[in-house]
Subunit: 315 residues, 4 copies
């Protein structure tokens, strides 16, 4: 059973990632930490608690993190997750309290108490994670790996068509806080980056049969996902949008779901055309060896991913 | 018969581009203009004349262009075309004089004398072309199109594996003078950019039968190409390197050889990780409409390209 | 008698610089070249001719130069020189033709025909001068010196209070085309840069007695200047604004008018807070020796400058 | 009696700043927090404790702060404070423990426990202060003012001659962590920045009479300063170097010692020529109102400053 911290910005797909992480028998969810990203942190730390209450898992602490990127202002996300940030599911206001420690301190505390045991799943801008590493650099030696929904690596057309940052080829999580991503990519901690290439593949789609199973389920989380799928389709987007962040949790559960390649990747932190790009160096000759080596998701088994996801939602 | 100016930096593949342009019955080669690029301009304006003398086409003027990028210093090309820049073919020193006009003035003069008739084929950094546009902006209205070996657009793996600039995803011609490329891309002149995606495809390769035909030919240019192929293979590179620039000439002759797509593309001119990148915006949503719209080569018929090339070399 | 080319963007003070340069017995004004700057080049090449016609010096050629900075768009000057760019003097439309050669070609031609003899006086963005150096680098060896109204060096409060670019510490001429300035500063040609420190010193002011002399004069150029002074004072600016550019001409006539110091100076070409700054390195320790060494005007004899100026205006 | 936290990187002048802060009857030194800067944080948190032990003030907590700038690597300071960072005074190794809280947490705790009462004196890169503001933005409302040795504002020649960063016009503390400075300058907290203009004025010098008084004193801190003065003079630097940081403490004690002006100032965070510059906007027209308004030290009463300093050292 892997110990994990889920650092997220729910967001409907982050909410589903919480569902998977909390319900998986293979994971021990030590904490949910929230951050500014798809929505302001005031919203994301409400939504995280709403989701855990829906699952009746108020034993899992939720800690509030950074309200903005480390050195930048918050950009505005042009995509919508609805007025509540949860696809208009409008779950009840949470009763459970926030952790007394903020996200950074809670993260540091849990990691230090469980050295080499706590994996971080990152489904949001990396502001909290980077700040924890700045404040307590010693934790870098104690994290076995970070599994992140992060970046876009040019490996297929989805890397380009679905770019979510506000520059032509960037992904939203990196784009929002590129300095944080740059710090984490360069931290020396093993990083598995699942980018738009795999996490927004159009093969991540739900069949009518899937929808029917959700309809027939008495699980609130099944209803939640179903609502989200209807919400997103009504807005002219594809169903994969509701579960992007789930792939990082799925990878934590079963790493055979996504094939990865090791590559040198740099994060562009200069303003303008390429801000927030994750620039992969795949050259046969003259590769920049000084760029950090990370594990890049290059091919997901979308069918098995969806199967695992549904299994956990419905159980 | 299309009137063309070939702006180049020979370079073995530029030399072969001159061969094709001078011998094609479909093109009228008005001038060869040379520029710093693969080699210093002192070398490239010698090699252009050597090549025309080999073809006995000293009627075509050769003009010397810029010795360096518009505002930058010359980077050093890590790739080699041999001590002579022509794959050790060591052709005789040229006897024909250079044009009295420099490349920029000759380009401007020919374009103004033949408004809307002169296509530019660009197989080198765009310093000369940009400078002509800076000095005489009125020519921008008089150029029907520019066909360029330029950029790398992420359309397939070759765009990444064969990146030739000294940053992880840039192509050499753009990397050397990104400000020049940026000016030309934004000039409003129709631009067909054949990038690494098509021009360095591994399907551009010569068969034993092709080599045999060159061996048996009494054409000096066939011998030249054969030597170049041996030269490059001996250095551990693939044969496509000898004819990269030829694809722009081939496209001028027969535009059905390369499929193109229209796309917004920005050129990165900021130093660092992404300098010289040609950043394509293929997003389904929120595309940057203010980036210039250009024609990007996305798929080449490599077989027909090689056939045309060989036909011209051997005839 | 010093041969000079005056490269300018009239502008009222450039117009007065033309007056001084054309009337000084110590200077031989070989050409006036115009460029975009305070006003579009279409205006500045009209105003240069208007001024020469007012002086009845239509023997001096006027050549049209660049309509925009080398690689940037034109910024908008927030300061006004009136609807005609000449302080509402509204001189008659010029009858004299423009030079057949453009500014860059005329500059190159004159310099090559008179090697080591032609000084350039620069009272505008350096786009023309830089382009001439890009196109014909050999002229760099043939120019004995450039006297420029250029930059701001932090030597006194005027360097800060009167900053004219659209960044906090830049001067307009450099700000408009920083890449051009950077090229010229780094060209190796001796450069005397008279910045805001000296050229906008509040001691450059006209006495009532001066004004009276202009009133009593029958010289059209005296009337021109008088109008300009009234124009500028009515707009709440100081009278020095009418003659800023004259100091470079005065320096060409009599270099003892301005004390200079040799210093390493870099031109900032990065966008943002410091774009267009001329950054002087006066450190006692660890100075950046690789920055170009230029002559920086540090103290002007404002009284003698005004005396010389008036003498030439009134004679 | 003002409550203060002294955030520093001792360094000999920081050590003297600790002496003043600990001995002044007008200040209550709540904590000394240390950071990377002149020396690695491992050294600075030793030197801070050495200094407090020399003063027999081990009641004052010392907390360890950041080992590097927030997002950058540590630059190397070309200036030396000796092998021990204290001008070869080689004080005994400290016995007092470090605070259990790190610098950021201790700073946040003290400020929250004493809202609106704790002034920060900053004599080092602002990494700790910025990180505290990132982690706990609510403290920004609770700090009455920050008095900092920070920046260089072009107000006199010392601003240029004594520039200490590794760019032509930057000051070391800002240069080392420009993003931290930028955050603090923009935090909305009242900032009094004493720059090179005042803190490195050559009038800050010790008379023979001053030196004699130190010699005759039995105070260890007098001996410490005397050694530092000899050390620095032997290396060809001026005596002001030993007490630069003291001016911020002096200002906290008696704000009439330094005249200030309110001005808009931007911090340059772009790499290259102007990295780390504090760019003041003193324009009469078109000032950038969006730059933060800070209090800039423009004139110090060096005589009274030295008198106060000596009084505290000798008492
Ligand atoms: Ca998310
Ligand atoms: Ca080429
Ligand atoms: Ca002017
Ligand atoms: Ca210090």
């Amino acid at each position: 059973m892997k110990k994990i911290i889920l650092d997220c910005d729910p967001g409907m797909d982050d909410s589903m990632a919480i569902v998977m992480a909390a319900k998986s028998p293979d994971l021990q969810l030590m904490a949910v930490t929230t951050v500014n990203g798809n929505y302001p942190v005031d919203v994301t730390c409400v939504n995280a608690r709403k989701t855990l209450e829906l699952l009746e898992r108020t034993d899992i602490p939720v800690a509030r993190g950074l309200a903005k990127p480390i050195i930048r202002d918050c950009p505005k996300d042009p995509f919508t997750h609805g007025t509540d940030g949860q696809a208009e599911n409008h779950l009840p206001a949470p009763a459970m309290p926030l952790s007394e420690l903020d996200a950074v301190d809670l993260m540091i505390k849990i990691i230090k108490e469980n050295p080499n045991e706590v994996y971080i799943i990152s489904t949001a801008p990396m502001s909290n994670i980077a700040l924890a590493m700045i404040k307590a650099p010693e934790i870098k030696e104690m994290i076995p790996a970070i599994y992140a929904i992060s970046g876009s690596f040019g490996l297929n057309k989805y890397a380009f068509l679905n770019a979510t940052g506000d520059t032509p080829q960037s992904e939203w999580n990196v784009y929002v806080d590129p300095e944080a991503a740059d710090l984490v990519y360069n931290s020396g901690v093993k990083l598995v980056a699942l980018g738009l290439d795999v996490a927004t593949h159009f093969d991540v789609d739900f069949s009518d049969d899937d929808l029917k199973k959700m309809e027939e389920s008495d699980k609130k989380e099944a209803k939640f996902l179903l609502n989200a799928i209807h919400f997103i389709r009504n807005r002219g987007f594809d169903a994969y949008c509701t579960v992007i962040d789930c792939m990082a949790v799925a990878y934590a559960i079963d790493p055979t779901l996504v094939e990865t390649m090791e590559a040198h990747v740099g994060v562009e932190t200069k303003d303008g055309l390429t801000l927030g790009m994750t620039v992969i160096d795949r050259r046969h000759h003259f590769v920049w060896e000084h760029l950090p080596l990370i594990q890049v998701g290059c091919k997901a088994d979308c069918g098995r991913f969806l199967k695992l996801l549904l299994e956990l939602v419905l159980k």
